[in-house]
């Protein structure tokens, strides 16, 4: 028997397999395999293989584009969007188009070729998260941009084209559709109830306790009631915060702890699966959106998305979040 659940924010329905949930071992993924590090453009000594760095955290007295860095940001060599130029919107009959202005940066998370965030030490993870903040704040000054998206693809099946671990940042001249849906949904709720839907959602999770994996002073990690993917996890600040980029140093160290724990549990329980994570944050177009609440969505790529999902926007989730959480909690770390 399955159950249909509706996401209260964007209105998406998902189909959840209640009676016959898939177990972690039923998914044929992983473990992650790293290719040989020779010729890896993200390793120490190969800095010349990337475009010149935009920013890096590095040891004192080391020069830009040489070894000695801890986190390094470079422009994407094959950018989906280009930074130079003015936005040129135009019509073509019934179609709308614009040139592809934007920023596309790669955040090389670590000098180690074969370590993911789950394998790093807390101070190392803090530096990555801090770099996300710094790049976001820097790009927010560019008035052409309306939205900044930070995301990570881990493993080929999740879309990563290089093995050495990295995340990406894309600054866009418009608010993308999925984000707009989330903003509209939470905005409507706020208008009617004068409360943030994400804060309400957290209250319900605290009360039901069924889907919470772990929490600390500032953050909570849980399986959402309406996931799109089996073992999907959300990390959310407990306080009502609009922008990821305004995360304080103290909060960053709490976020590093919870992110490491979640990724490590996932890695062990699911045999090091490919995954994506995305930071959902408020747009930088200057408009006030008091009903929004930034958060991070982590999606292991365990199942294939087929015609039905494409056609309907319905997702089929073979493991209910209430079951997934038990496996993740059961992992010894």
């Amino acid at each position: 028997m399955t159950e249909l659940r509706r996401d209260p924010i964007v209105g998406r329905w998902v189909i959840i397999n209640i009676t016959n949930p898939k177990k972690p071992g039923d998914f044929k993924v992983g473990p992650h395999h790293y290719d040989d590090a020779t010729n890896c453009p993200f390793c120490y000594g190969n800095e010349y293989m990337t475009p010149p760095e935009i920013q890096a955290f590095r040891h004192e007295k080391t020069m830009a584009n040489t070894p000695g860095w801890q986190v390094r940001v470079v422009p994407n060599k094959f950018p989906a969007l280009q930074i130079e130029g003015n936005l040129d919107r135009k019509g073509l009959g019934i179609f709308d188009m614009t040139n592809g202005i934007g920023a596309h940066e790669v955040i090389i998370e670590t000098p180690y070729h074969a370590k993911d965030i789950a394998d790093l030490e807390l101070p190392e993870i803090e530096q990555i998260l801090d770099m996300y903040c710094q790049r976001s704040r820097d790009l927010a000054k560019d008035k052409r941009f309306k939205y900044i998206m930070l995301f990570k693809n881990y493993g080929g099946a999740a879309g990563a084209t290089l093995d050495h671990n990295h995340s990406q940042l894309i600054a866009l001249p418009m608010i993308p559709k999925n984000v707009l849906e989330e903003l509209n949904g939470s905005g409507k709720y706020y208008e009617f109830r004068e409360r943030c839907i994400f804060c309400d959602l957290l209250s319900q999770e605290y009360e039901e306790k069924e889907r919470i994996l772990t929490q600390n002073n500032n953050f909570i990690a849980f399986c959402p009631f309406v996931p799109r993917f089996p073992f999907e996890m959300w990390i959310m600040p407990k306080a009502h915060k609009l922008f990821y980029s305004e995360t304080t140093q103290e909060e960053i160290s709490e976020l590093a702890k919870i992110l490491k724990e979640v990724l490590l549990r996932m890695k062990i329980a699911l045999n090091d699966p490919p995954y994506n994570f995305i930071i959902h944050t408020s747009p930088i177009d200057g408009e006030a959106r008091p009903g929004y609440h930034w958060h991070m969505e982590i999606m292991p790529r365990l199942s294939r998305v087929a015609g039905f999902e494409w056609g309907t926007g319905f997702y089929i989730v073979p493991t209910p979040p209430e079951v997934a959480i038990k496996y993740l909690r059961g992992v010894k770390i």
């Binding site: 179609f95 709308d96 592809g100 993308p176 089929i316």
Partner: protein, 342 residues
């Protein structure tokens, strides 16, 4: 310079990133999975499927026996089940209901053929007839609002391990989100212009020719202006119609011919890639006219088929934004497909 394009119907932006372009052969393709055991969909194996719901078969043959051309059976592993009540209820912030629906498989040929492109047009027309028959039948069920017809071909498209050509259909108790977006987009355009946006789109495309793949009889195939994946191709009837089930027998043959042409071009030109296609048609109208919404649907919506070769792997960016990055300009892919000799 990459270019951003907006789908005029639902407002989705895509990035046409020609600098990232790879040649058609550079995508990962093919159907590498071997059949596991015996195929349950071949003629003579009727006992291996649940009992058939509908079949086009030779006179004098019995259900669940050989002698059929196309055959519809319930899915053995359905996402949604046909028995039971909807039982809509709330749980705090959330809405929940029972997983009620129909999930059926249309076996497109009695022979062990993987790709519908390799069937003849008359056989494909029979598949279309099966879809129409099931559509009409399921539309009588008061619990259902929509029926999605789709195909997953090849492992990377979500297809099964058995290399026997089939289409799936799923009737759902709610109108799915993506479908609703498209209906709303078309309706908004109609409210303002009093014209169907798809008819306008067809007129513009036929005039410009840049994205036309093939045009014949009463159908046109073109690559989408704001393609989500390289070589995304739409097939539309030139005559305005919101509902595919109203297709005449002659029209079904023409669609069969068109589908065969386009899918064969894709198969030859792109080295037999995995693909999905999805039929976009109006929701069950008996139900909606009762509820009083979508009043203008017969004028504002236009059914069509969207074919998506699965050549790229949507990653974090696509999931997060609903933006797609398409590494080949649709004009280039249309030209390429036009030149593939079939």
């Amino acid at each position: 310079m990459p270019e951003l394009r907006k789908d005029p119907i639902i407002g989705r932006w895509v990035i046409i990133a020609v600098e990232r372009a790879r040649r058609p052969k550079g995508f990962k393709t093919a159907f590498s999975i071997q059949d596991e055991g015996e195929c349950p969909f071949c003629e003579g194996k009727e006992a291996h499927t649940p009992p058939e719901i509908f079949a086009i078969r030779k006179e004098g043959t019995k259900p669940n026996q050989p002698g059929w051309d196309t055959r519809v059976v319930p899915s053995k592993t359905p996402f949604l089940r046909v028995e039971g009540e909807l039982n809509r209820h709330g749980q705090g912030l959330y809405d929940v209901m029972g997983g009620i629906g129909a999930h059926e498989i249309i076996i497109e040929t009695p022979r062990h053929i993987a790709n519908i492109a390799d069937l003849d047009e008359a056989q494909i027309a029979k598949v279309i007839t099966c879809c129409i028959d099931r559509f009409v039948d399921l539309s009588h069920d008061e619990r259902f609002k929509y029926m999605l017809v789709f195909k997953n071909y090849g492992w990377d498209s979500g297809g099964g391990r058995v290399k026997h050509s089939r289409t799936q259909l799923i009737a759902t108790p709610v109108t799915p989100k993506r479908v609703k977006e498209e209906l709303l987009g078309a309706k908004k355009y109609y409210n303002y212009h009093e014209r169907c946006i798809f008819c306008d789109l067809i007129r513009q495309e036929i005039k410009s020719k840049d994205r036309i793949v093939f045009e014949a009889d009463d159908f046109v195939a073109m690559t989408a202006f704001a393609s989500r994946s390289p070589f995304e191709t739409w097939i539309l009837p030139k005559q305005h119609s919101c509902d595919f089930s109203s297709m005449s027998v002659e029209c079904r043959l023409h669609l069969g011919k068109m589908l065969k042409k386009v899918l064969t071009k894709i198969k030859i030109g792109l080295d037999d890639p995995p693909y999905n296609y999805i039929l976009h048609t109006a929701p069950f109208r008996k139900k909606i006219s009762k509820a009083g919404y979508w009043k203008t649907i017969e004028d504002d919506y236009h059914w069509h088929l969207e074919i998506m070769p699965r050549l790229t792997n949507p990653a974090g960016f696509e999931w997060g934004t609903g933006f797609y990055i398409c590494p080949i300009a649709p004009e280039g892919s249309a030209k390429y497909l036009r030149e593939v000799e079939v």
